[in-house]
Symmetry: D2
Subunit: 487 residues, 4 copies
C-alpha cells in the first residue's frame, strides 16, 4: 500500500492535461485550488497505515490474499459493505469534504459483477480482463475515477439519435489492438487526483445504441484526455494570502469535465463493448453502490454538528434549551442518513460473481434521504451559527492596523475564546453551507449518484407492491385473482 507521500509523488509523475480559469495548470499537485482535494485523497492512503484505522481502511484481496487499501477491494461479505459505510463516514469527518476515492471503488465493484454476468451469457472474457486489471490496481494502490455521467445533449433523445453523437461516449473505430473512443464525462469528482479513469455507460441502452455500450479503463494521462476544472463557490479564497477565510484550508474536493478526443483503449482494458443489454445493469449496480457511499455525508455532518456545538459554546448559548434541541435534531438527522447506508449494506447479498451487492431498494432510500437531510442540517447550523457567519469582515480587515482592533473588540463574545477561534469556526460553517464544501455536502448530495427522481424511480420499481396489496386485501377480506391464498 502506498503512503500518502508516495501517492503525492506518483501524481507528480503523471502528465495530465488540466485547464482551469482558461489556462493549463502545469503543476497540479501544488496548485492552491487543487491541492486541498489532493490532500483529501492522500488521507485515504495515510489512514491505511495507522493501526487504529486498519480494520476499516484495509482489506484482504480476494484475488491475491494480500492486505490492500479497502478502496481497491471487492466486497466479499455484508460485513465488508458495512465497513465501507464506516470508512466513508470516517473520512468525511476527517476531511469535512468529499474525499473522492469512493467512486472508483464503486466502479470496480460494479464491474466485478457485470463483467462476470456478461461472460456467463456471451462467453466473453471480460471478467478475466477485469481481474487482471483489478490486480494491477490493488498492487499499485491506485486511485481510480469512476466515470459515468455523459453530457447527454438533448435529454429527449437516445444516444444514437443525438445530432452530435459525442454527447454519449462511443467507439469511433476499432483497431487491431483496441478501440478508439470519443466523448466526455461531466462532474468527475477527483478526476485530476486519479491514476486511472474507468468509463461506464450512463443509461440503459437498446440495440441501436450498442456503439455507446462501452466500458473501459485508462491511465488518467492517456493521450487525448483533457480535464477542465469546474469552479466552486468561494474557490478563489484558497488563493488569498490568509487561510482563515477558507474555512477548511487543508481539505476539499473537486469536479472536472473530462474530454476524450479520440483516445485509444487497448483490448485488455475494455470491459464491455456492444453488450448493450448489460448497460442498464451496470448503471444500476454502480449507482446502488454509490448511493450507499453517501454515508460520507454523515461524516461531514459530524463536522458541521461539531462546529455548531462549538460556535454555540463560543457564543455562550450552548445551554439554551432550543440550542440543545437543535443539536439533537442535527444528530438525529445525521444518524438517520447513516442508518440508511448501514441498512443497505447489512442487507447486501452475494451476486453470482461472488461480489456482495448492497440491497438496492434500501440503497435508493438511503440516497433519497441524502438529498434532503443535509439541507436541513445545514439550515439548523446556520440558525445556531448566527448571522455573523455571513457578515464577518475579511481576514485582512482583522489584520489591519486601522480597524483590526475594533473587530477584535466587538466580535469578542466569550472572554475565554479568542476572536480568531470564533472566526475560524464560523468560516468552517460557511465553507460547508455556502463555500467549497457546500458543493459536496449539498448539491452533490442532491445529484451525485443520481438525482432524486432517479432514486424515486428505483424505489417504485423495487418496492414489492404485489405483496403489500396481498396483505391489505387479505386483511379486509377482499378475494380476487391476485389474492387467492391466505395464511
Amino acid at each position: 500500500m502506498k503512503t500518502a507521500k508516495e501517492y503525492e509523488e506518483s501524481l507528480r509523475r503523471l502528465n495530465l492535461v488540466v485547464y482551469m480559469f482558461g489556462k493549463r495548470i502545469e503543476n497540479i499537485v501544488d496548485d492552491p485550488i487543487i491541492r486541498p482535494s489532493m490532500n483529501s485523497v492522500a488521507l485515504t492512503y495515510e489512514l491505511a497505515h495507522i493501526p487504529e484505522y486498519e480494520d476499516l481502511m484495509t482489506a484482504t484481496s480476494h484475488i491475491t490474499g494480500e492486505k490492500i487499501n479497502r478502496f481497491c477491494h471487492i466486497h466479499q461479505s455484508a460485513e465488508d459493505l458495512v465497513k465501507k459505510t464506516d470508512m466513508g463516514r470516517l473520512l468525511g469527518a476527517m476531511t469535512g469534504s468529499c474525499f473522492q476515492r469512493c467512486v472508483g471503488m464503486d466502479a470496480l465493484n460494479a464491474l466485478s459483477i457485470t463483467t462476470f454476468d456478461i461472460d456467463a451469457k456471451h462467453g466473453t472474457e471480460y471478467n478475466k480482463r477485469f481481474l487482471t486489471y483489478l490486480e494491477y490496481v490493488q498492487k499499485n494502490d491506485l486511485t481510480c475515477d469512476g466515470a459515468m455521467t455523459d453530457p447527454k445533449g438533448d435529454r429527449s433523445l437516445p444516444p444514437h439519435k443525438q445530432p452530435d453523437q459525442d454527447m454519449y461516449m462511443h467507439v469511433v473505430r476499432e483497431e487491431k489492438d483496441g478501440i478508439v473512443v470519443r466523448g466526455a464525462k461531466a462532474h468527475q469528482t477527483g478526476a485530476v487526483n486519479s491514476h486511472e479513469v474507468i468509463i461506464m455507460p450512463t443509461i440503459a441502452m437498446r440495440a441501436e445504441d450498442k456503439e455507446f455500450a462501452v466500458s473501459f479503463a485508462l491511465p488518467s494521462d492517456a493521450p487525448g484526455i483533457t480535464y477542465i476544472m469546474g469552479r466552486q463557490s468561494c474557490d478563489t479564497r484558497k488563493m488569498e494570502k490568509g487561510k482563515i477565510d477558507c474555512g477548511n484550508p487543508q481539505f476539499g474536493g473537486h469536479e472536472a469535465l473530462v474530454v476524450f478526443d479520440d483516445v485509444f483503449v487497448p483490448w485488455e482494458r475494455v470491459f464491455m463493448y456492444r453488450e448493450y443489454e448489460f448497460a442498464g445493469q451496470l448503471v444500476e449496480q454502480f449507482a446502488s453502490y454509490h448511493r450507499q457511499s453517501y454515508a460520507c455525508k454523515a461524516g461531514v455532518g459530524d463536522v458541521l454538528i461539531g462546529a455548531a456545538q462549538t460556535i454555540a459554546e463560543y457564543n455562550g448559548v450552548q445551554k439554551a434549551s432550543h440550542i440543545k434541541d437543535k443539536i439533537i435534531e442535527m444528530n438525529h438527522l445525521n444518524e438517520t442518513l447513516y442508518s440508511g447506508s448501514v441498512a443497505c449494506a447489512c442487507k447486501g447479498a452475494r451476486e453470482p460473481s461472488g461480489t456482495f451487492l448492497v440491497n438496492t431498494l434500501l440503497a435508493n432510500v438511503c440516497k433519497q434521504n441524502v438529498t434532503r437531510l443535509p439541507f436541513e442540517i445545514a439550515r439548523i447550523a446556520q440558525d445556531i451559527a448566527g448571522g455573523l457567519m455571513v457578515t464577518l469582515p475579511s481576514e485582512d480587515d482583522f489584520n489591519s492596523p486601522e480597524v483590526g482592533k475594533w473587530l477584535e473588540k466587538y466580535f469578542k463574545a466569550n472572554s475565554s475564546v479568542s476572536t480568531t477561534d470564533r472566526r475560524k469556526i464560523l468560516r468552517l460553517i460557511e465553507n460547508i453551507c455556502f463555500g467549497t464544501a457546500a458543493v459536496g455536502y449539498l448539491t452533490e448530495s442532491m445529484h451525485g449518484a443520481g438525482s432524486p427522481q432517479a432514486q424515486r424511480i428505483m424505489i417504485s420499481r423495487q418496492a414489492d407492491m404485489i405483496q403489500k396489496q396481498f396483505h391489505a386485501k387479505r386483511l379486509c377480506g377482499i378475494t380476487d385473482e391476485t389474492n387467492g391464498t391466505t395464511v
Copy 2:
C-alpha cells in the same frame, strides 16, 4: 413450540380478572372486542410452524439447544437482532396491527443482561434465577407481557416522595418465600393475551427509591392482579353484526391497566430488588430493544401502502403521476423507518452476559423516526383514499332494501370492482388512520417504548460530541486543550 390452537387453549385455562365497559369479562378469548388481539398473538405461534417463516420465527435456545419461538429467544448475534427486525415487520404486515408479543421478548433480553451485571457487582443470583425462568418460558412457549410504565402520579416528584406511594410499583413487605408488591402498570399491550407478566422499574432511581427498584415475573393470573381494558377508537364496531365496517375484522391489539393489589412474588421470580443503581440500565436497555421493535410499523406501513395502491386502482387513478409519486413517498418513508431498525440491529454488540444489545444511539434514532413517519404515511394514505373513507354509510345502509341500491349505484367507480371491495379497502384505511389500529400505528408509535423527548435525551447523551468538535476544530485550525492532537 405451541400451535396457535394450543396457545388459544392455554389462554382459556387462565383465570384472569378482566374488566371492560364496567363489567368483568368471563370469557376473554371469545369476547368480540378482545378476540382480534388474541388472533394477532396466535399468529406468532402459527407462523413458527410454517417452513417458509421458520428462519425468522424460530431460533435455537442458547440454554437448551432446542428450537424455540424467536419471541422467547435471547439474541446471540447481530444476525439474531436483524432477524428480530424482520420478524416484526413480517407480523406487522400479516396482522396490520400490534401483535403484542415483542414487549415480553424485549423484557427477557434486557433482564438477561441486567441480572448478569447485578450479579457481577453484588454477587447475587439473579441471573441464575432468570435463566431458570427463561427455560420455563422457552419450554412452554409462553407469551410474556413486559410491564414497565408506572402511573407516575406527580411527574415532578421521585417515587419515594409521591403522596401515594403506589404510583410506582413497590414492595410492601417481605415474607419468607418472597415479596408482596403493590402498584399498577399502565398501557400494557397485550396484557390479557399473556401467560406471564414481567415487571420492570420505569425510571432510573436513587438510593431513597430502592423499595421501588424491583423486577419480577408472575403468572398473569396470579391472585391480586386485575386488568382494566383501555378503549380504542371505534372499538364497538367489532360488536356490530357486519364485519366490513371494522376494516380489519380479524386482527387487532389491546392495552390495559394492570393493577397489583398486594400480590405475592416468590423469591425465584424476583430479578432485582433494591439494586436501585441498575434500574436506569434496565430501563435503557429494555427501551433500546423496544425502540428497535418498532420495525413492526414498517409492516403495518406495508399494509397501508398496499391499501392505498388498491384504492387508487379501484378509483382508476393509479397511473396519475401524483398518485405514483405519493406511493413512492410512502414507500420511501416506510423503508427509512425500517432501515433504522436494521441499522441498530446490525450495529448491535455483545454484552458481558453474552446477549447482543442493539446500538442504543441508532435504536433511539430509529424510534424517533417512528414518532414522525407513520403520521406522514397516514396523511398520504388519506390523500390517496379520498374523502369517501370518512363519509361512507354504514354496512346496514348498504344492506338496506330502501337505500342499498343507491349506495351500490353511486359508489361504483371502476366497473370491474365491486362496491363491496371498495368499501372494504376504505374501511381498512380508516381502521389504520382513525380506528382501532390507529392506536398502534400512530399514538403508540409516538409513545410506545418512550415518548419522543425520551429518545431525544438519549440521542443527546449518546452522540459523541467530543469527537465531532475535535474534527471541526482540527479542520479549521483551532488548537485548544480539548483538541491537542492531529492526525
Copy 3:
C-alpha cells in the same frame, strides 16, 4: 334573523327522508348521532344575536339593506371577506367541529358572480332569478347546503360517456314549469341540517356535456330527495349512556350522500342550464371561496392547542421546554393556516357583478396548507397528550364499583385536578385526532373544497411564470424574445 330555537323549530317542520344504519330516521333533530351537528349550525344563529359577535356574524344585505346573518351575505368588499375568515375561525373554536353552514354561503357568492356573467354573455335572466332567491334566503335566514361533488363513476370518462349517466347530476327531461333532474351529490356536509340545497356542477365541461351543466336550488325536503348518512369514526359513542367518552358531546358535523331521484325544479330555481362553458368558472370560484373557508380549521386548531396546553398542565409538564416549544409550533402552524385565509381575503377583488372574490392563487395556497398543517398539529397534540389518550378505559369502568376506585387512584397526576377533568380533556383530543371531529379536522381538511392535487393544478395555472422568468432572465443578462425589455 332567526334565533337558534327558531332554527331548530324550522328544521322540525321539514319532511326530510334520511337513512342511517339502514333505517329511516323519523326525528332527525333529536337523533343522538345527528343532534350535535344541528347544535353546531344552531350556534351560527345564536351568535348573530350576541352583541359581542355582531360585527363578525352579521352584515347588511346589499339587496335589501337589512341586517342579515353573514352566512347569507354576498361579500361587498375585501373587508367582508376578511370578516368571513374571522367568522369561520370563531365558529371553529366555539364548536371544535365543522359547523357546516359555510358551504351554502360559498355557493351563493359563487352563483352571484356566475349568473351575472352568463347573463352578460347570453342575455339570460339567471342573475335576476338568483337575486330573488337570495332575498328569500336572507329574509328567512336559511341554511343552505352547497352541493357540488358528484359520484363521478369512472374517473377517466367525461359525464356524457359514463355508462351510467346518473354519475353526474343531469336533466332527464324538461317540463313546462321546470326541469326534472337525476343524480347524487356525495360528502354533503350538513345536508340534513339545511333548509335548502344548492346544486352546482362538479367539473369544467364541454359542449357534449351540456345536459350536465346545470345549477339550481331546492328545498331540502323536495320530493325525490333522499339522504343517506355517512358514518364517522366513533359515531356510536354518542349513543352510549355516558357523555365523557364522546370528547365533544355537544357539537359535531355530519356528511351525507344526497340522492335525487327524478326531482322537479321550477324554472325560477334554475341558475344555469346548458351554459357548459361556465361550469368551470362556477367550480373554480366556488372552490376558491370554499378554500378560504378553511380558516375554520384554525378555530378547531385553537381548541386542540388549548386542549394540549390543558393536558400538559394536568400532567404537570407545562413548564418543560420541549412542551412549551411544541405549543409554540402548534400556534405557529395554526396561525400560518389562518394567515393564508386572511391573505386571500385581503387580496380579494371586485367581480363585474359587484361581488368580491378572494384572490384565487392565494386561496389555493391557503387550502394546500390546510391539507398539511392540521395533520402536524394533531401529531404534536398526540405527543403532548401522552399515550393515555388511547388507553383510557371507558366511562363505565370509571363508574364501576369494582374497578372505578383504581382508575381514580392510578390516573391521578396533578393533585389539584380531578381524574374526571383529565379524562374529559383527553377524550376531546381523541375526538379531534381520531374521533368524529377528526373527519372534519383531518380528512375533510385534506379533501374538502378539492383534494390537494386540485389546488396544485390551480397554483400551477395561476402563478405568473412568465413574469418570474422575465425577472430571472433579466437579472442574469439573458436576452430573448420573451425578455426584450428591461427596466
Copy 4:
C-alpha cells in the same frame, strides 16, 4: 423625490470612512464589490418615478401632504401596510437581492410610535423632534440605515454588567448641545449606501441599563463613524473580468459593522435617552415591522422560481411531471411566505400616534416561515438545476481558445439555447443558493429581524392561550375557575 442618478450623486458627496479587505475604500460608489448593492438601493428611487409602480412606490406624506417615496412614509392605514408588503416583493423580484432600504423605513415607523408614547408618559418632546427629522428625511428622500444589533459581548450579562461597556451602544457623556455615544452596530444592511443612520437599542432594558436606552439619528458620515464591510460568499467574483460567473452582476446587498467612536449627537436628533422602559417596545415594534418586510424574499423567490423554470426548459425537462410538481411546490411555499406578510399587514391596527402597526403575532409567524421556506425553495431549485450548477467551469475557460470549444460542445443541451444562456441562468441560481445573494436569501432570512427563537418567544407571548383553553375546557365540559362562563 430623488432620481436614481441624484441618489448616486448624493452618495458621492458623502465622506464615509469605509474599510474592506484591510484597506480604506476611497470611491465607494464605483467599487466593484459595493456597486451592485448601490444599484439595488438606486432602484428604489428609479421605480418611484415610473407610473406603473407609482401606487406601490410612493405615498402621500401625512405631515406635508406631498408625494414621497414610500420608504420614507409613516403607514397611515392597513392598506399602506399591504402596499409595503407588495413593494418589498416587487423590489425583491427586480433585484434578486436585498435592496436594503426597508430597515430605515421600519425604524422610522417604529420611532413614530415610541416617541409619541414616551412623550405621553414623560411629557418629553421626542415626537416633535422626530417629526422634524422625518420631514427632513422625506423632503430629501433619504436612505436611512436602521441600526439595532449591538455586538452584545457576553450574552449572559445585561449591558451594564458587560466587562466592556461598549458592547452595547451607550452615552459616554452629555454636552450642552447633545450627547456623545460609543459602541457599534453589527450586520448593518446597506449601511454604506445610506445617508442617515438611525440607532435603536437592541433589547428590553431595566433601570440599571438606562445609559444604554438611547435612540438617535446621524448623518452616515458624521465624524467618528467607521464602516467595516462584511465579506460575502463569492464576493470577489465581482472583481473578475467576466460578469457571467457573478450570476447577478447588477444587483446585490451588503452588510457592515458600524463603529461609533465617541460620536456627537445633537439633542434634536435624540429620540430616546434613559427612558429604559420603552426600549423593549421600540425593539418589538421595529422587529414586527421588519418581520413583515421579509415579503421581499417572496420577490427573490420569484426570481429563483423563474430561474428554475428556465433551466428546466433549457434542459428540456420542463414537462416532466416531477419537475412541474417541484415548480408548484416552490410557488406554494413562496406564496405561503407572502401570505404571512399580507396577513400581518391586513390585520394591522392604529396606534395612539396614528401610525398603523402590523399585527405582531402574525408578523412573527410570517418571519418564522421565512426562516424555513426559502431554504426548501433553494433546495428544490438545486434539484431542478442539476449538478452542473456547481461544476461549471469558469468564464475564462469558456473563452479559452484551447478548451472553450469543448465546453460549448458538451454543455449544449437544447439546440435552441446557447450555452452562454444556460451558464447565465445556472450562475444566477448558484448566486442565490450559495453566492452573494444567498447571504440575503438564506442566512439573513434566518437571522435578520431576529433569529427564529426570537419569533418563537413572541409567538408564545402573543398567542391567546387563555382563550384557547377556555374553548377546549368548555367543549369537553370542564368547569373550573378559569372557565366559569359559557356561551
